[in-house]
């Protein structure tokens, strides 16, 4: 009766706790990954933060970039304390998507956000974030559990008493404590999510008008103000471990848009030999220093196609940790190339950092292409040779020259056996000149 009741509610709440614990990856094989080792260097039980996970290779704390496909190619996610540099595509169409994914992931995971832009008000940027595709069944379970907890919170668990040590659900409404979510680009993020999230905005035209003491530093004033703003936020909110009373650790996600463009007052995109040529690199160095000493991750988009001095691009790449370049096919000759007709552009993963390790997770596949569907931004492995062969075979199957006159009417779903028979005969009938017999062998 009473015992059964206790254990009944106990199991229901422990079920959710176990789920929460497993998604937070509390295992015994953890290392002290984050570099902000100030506050929690003494505690033996590692605090797990929502929306993060440990890398399997070296226990590094990772956050999701918002695109699970990109996470996979970056070695599991973006390491906390590092900079993700996105080299913008030519007309800046797809890089804001990656930027928005990163910020949306932060809102969904409950991280704090810092959005900096010289072009657009951060509040407007946040309004345009994609909506997450949440699992409705899990959401219902969360609501039930929250109600259940309020009633039964003081009943001690008699049988599964170990689970009492796990933290209960926080008051902050977190949609899901998973890592990496899917988003629907065609919908906007719900307003209540933005309101419950903690975000700080830096809009350059607002900040630059106020007076500031002139520093004799080679940074442009825009960069200087942004660095001071970031440092203030990190210090005040305690992301660098300077505020030990804060028990709930959180990640700060920083997003800086169009860094290096003339809107920031920098002229590296305008001239080859510019005056403030060290401004951007110095900014990146100080930013790296700030990130390494705090629990934060940063995404910056830089229009590298506009930077005329190649040396600066190399230096910027060396000062960033993870570098991903986007190349869109719009306006280039690749748009009409049949190899790429299904895709909108290529993704080049130019650099992945080696953190606390001699080696790093690098995928074997180097040809990555992206495609913007109506609701999703997908990244696919595209090897030109295999896709060309596949498309060639597909063309042969669809209209083999000898069978053109007797075309089979398409009645919806094809019979797979029929398709195989057709393929078989077409391959045997038409020798593809430049391939080896291996192709025919594999089909027979």
């Amino acid at each position: 009766m009473a015992v059964a009741g206790t254990s009944g509610t106990g199991t229901r709440s422990t079920g959710s706790m176990v789920a929460a614990a497993s998604t937070n990856n509390v295992t015994s094989f953890q290392r002290r990954g984050p570099r902000a080792s100030g506050a929690d260097s003494g505690c033996s039980r590692l605090v797990s933060i929502a929306g993060t996970r440990r890398s399997v290779r070296n226990g590094q704390l990772l956050v999701s970039t918002g695109l699970p496909a990109l996470d996979q190619f970056l070695g599991g996610g973006l390491a906390v304390g590092t900079v993700l540099l996105i080299e913008e595509d030519k007309y800046n169409i797809y890089s804001p998507l990656l930027f928005n994914y990163f910020l949306a992931e932060g809102i969904v995971s409950g991280h704090a956000l810092l959005v900096a832009s010289a072009k657009e008000d951060p509040a407007d940027i946040l309004q345009k974030l994609p909506a997450p595709l949440i699992d409705h069944s899990y959401k219902k379970e969360c609501d039930e559990d929250i109600c259940g907890h309020k009633m039964e919170s003081d009943i001690k668990m008699k049988i599964a008493w170990r689970y009492q040590l796990f933290p209960k659900m926080e008051g902050r409404p977190v949609l899901s404590s998973g890592f990496g979510h899917d988003y629907d680009i065609s919908k906007r993020i719900p307003q209540e999510l933005i309101e419950t999230s903690k975000w700080h905005g830096f809009f350059l035209p607002e900040k630059i008008s106020s007076t500031f003491n002139v520093e004799s530093c080679s940074l442009t004033s825009g960069y200087m103000k942004l660095l001071q703003f970031i440092q203030n936020i990190i210090y005040e909110e305690g992301f660098d471990g300077s505020n030990p009373q804060k028990k709930q650790k959180n990640i700060l996600r920083i997003g800086i848009q169009n860094l290096g463009s003339p809107l920031w007052g920098d002229d590296i995109c305008c001239a080859e030999n510019c005056d403030a040529s060290h401004s951007l690199t110095k900014f990146l160095y100080i930013l790296r220093a700030l990130l390494r000493t705090s629990l934060s991750a940063c995404i910056i988009t830089v229009p590298t196609h506009l930077i005329q001095n190649k040396a600066v691009i190399a230096r910027v790449t060396n000062l960033s940790d993870t570098v991903v370049g986007l190349e869109s096919f719009i306006g280039s000759e690749k748009e009409t190339n049949p190899l790429y007709k299904d895709y909108h552009g290529l993704i080049h993963i130019r650099q992945i950092p080696r953190l606390n390790n001699l080696i790093y997770d690098i995928s074997d596949v180097k040809d990555l292409a992206f495609k913007l569907k109506k609701k999703l931004f997908t990244i696919e492995i595209g090897s030109p040779i295999s896709s060309s062969l596949a498309s060639l075979i597909a063309q042969l199957v669809k209209n083999p020259p000898a069978m053109r006159k007797t075309s089979v009417p398409f009645l919806g779903r094809e019979d797979p056996l029929e398709k195989a028979k057709v393929t078989h005969s077409s391959i045997l009938a038409w020798r593809i000149p430049w391939t080896v017999h291996g192709v025919a062998k594999s089909w027979t």
Partner: protein, 355 residues
């Protein structure tokens, strides 16, 4: 994974006597039995025919006749066996290639590490653990990574940087952490990184003063450490921060004069080669340092692109900068693959994945 002559002998016992393929537990270990290398009975990946092979005829080095093997084994000059390489900690294969041991490290040398199209930071970790094992006093100027990064990698290589720092063997200048202090909370007294606050970064004199104070030999009577060593990782980031290449060259010159000449120590620095990006400042710095250095280790990415089994190519160049070059500088080229705790080297084209 200790390798012993006895084990090799037993392993080879069942093979045909005419041709014997010698392999260590790592397939990339080759045996060279020439008199010059046999001094320390080490393995090299001999792709160059540099060894004056007294014992063997000119065969491809990884084929050793069992008769020669017997004679090597019984000859008095050969070691009983190579030392258990894992005890040494750092990259033992690189030690073999460079013909150094922590006990017999040379002094008064400038070593230049440079990388082109790849990441040469594994060389910095090697030299850091090497000199700490060699009981030298090390000053590490870590401008690009945090201390915990070096510490964690060092633990994989068998040295504890925190312990070394506590006992005074290691002095670390963390560029990132102290850069934030200098930038946001400026103070009046000179700081080694005060060029971060200046508009036109003049010179690196405060940084040199820091190095000098850190490595100053203490006249306490007992010679605690062998020789001072300065390790800079890396110099190219100073160019990105607005310091001119001439100022960086001056800094290295001052360090060399003090550390190498006066205190008979060593200096190791890492520079990035910008390649074809037309970075004039980087070229000036690299050329200037190349002419001053005694040993150049150049890690390059493969010209053909990315490969999973071969991460790059290492070129080792021994130079004599102060003497007229009567004979050609000795140079060797190897390819390498970086693993979790070590780096394996092999001759070009001799990657275990290919063979």
């Amino acid at each position: 994974m200790a390798w012993s002559w006895e084990a090799l002998w037993e392993w080879n016992a069942g093979k045909k006597p005419a041709q014997l393929r010698v392999q260590g537990p790592r397939p990339c270990a080759r045996l060279c039995a020439c008199a010059e290398c046999n001094r320390s009975a080490r393995f090299i990946g001999c792709g160059q025919r540099n060894c004056a092979c007294a014992l063997l005829p000119r065969v491809p080095v990884w084929w050793v006749l069992p008769s020669s093997l017997r004679s090597i084994r019984d000859s008095p000059s050969s070691h009983p066996g190579p030392p258990c390489v894992l005890e040494l900690g750092m990259f033992p294969e690189l030690n073999n290639l460079l013909n150094t041991t922590p006990e017999g490290a040379e002094q008064g040398k400038l070593t230049l590490l440079c990388d082109a199209k790849t990441d040469g930071s594994f060389l910095v970790h090697h030299f850091l653990s090497f000199y700490l094992k060699a009981n030298c006093k090390v000053c590490l100027v870590a401008l690009i990574q945090s201390f915990s990064h070096y510490n964690i990698v060092g633990q994989k290589l068998g040295v504890s940087l925190t312990a070394a720092r506590e006992r005074g063997q290691l002095v670390v200048l963390e560029g990132l952490k102290s850069g934030v202090d200098v930038f946001f909370r400026p103070r009046e007294e000179p700081h080694p990184l005060q060029f971060l606050r200046e508009a036109n970064a003049g010179d690196l004199q405060p940084l040199y003063a820091f190095v000098r104070d850190a490595l100053q030999p203490v006249d306490s009577g007992e010679a605690a450490w062998r020789c001072p060593v300065l390790l800079v990782d890396d110099l190219s980031v100073l160019l990105s921060l607005g310091v001119g290449p001439v100022a960086v060259l001056d800094f290295v010159h001052y360090c060399r004069a003090t550390v190498c000449q006066e205190w008979k120590g060593n200096v190791v620095c890492l520079v990035h080669d910008s390649g074809d990006t037309e970075d004039e400042e980087s070229d000036v710095l690299l050329n200037g340092l190349s002419h001053q250095s005694h040993l150049i280790l150049r890690a390059e990415g493969l010209a053909t692109g990315f490969c999973k089994d071969v991460h790059g190519q290492l070129r080792i160049l021994w130079r004599r900068p102060l003497q007229p070059t009567t004979h050609r500088d000795r140079s060797l080229t190897y390819q390498y693959k970086i693993q979790d705790k070590s780096v394996s080297f092999f001759a070009k084209g001799m990657s275990p994945a290919v063979l």
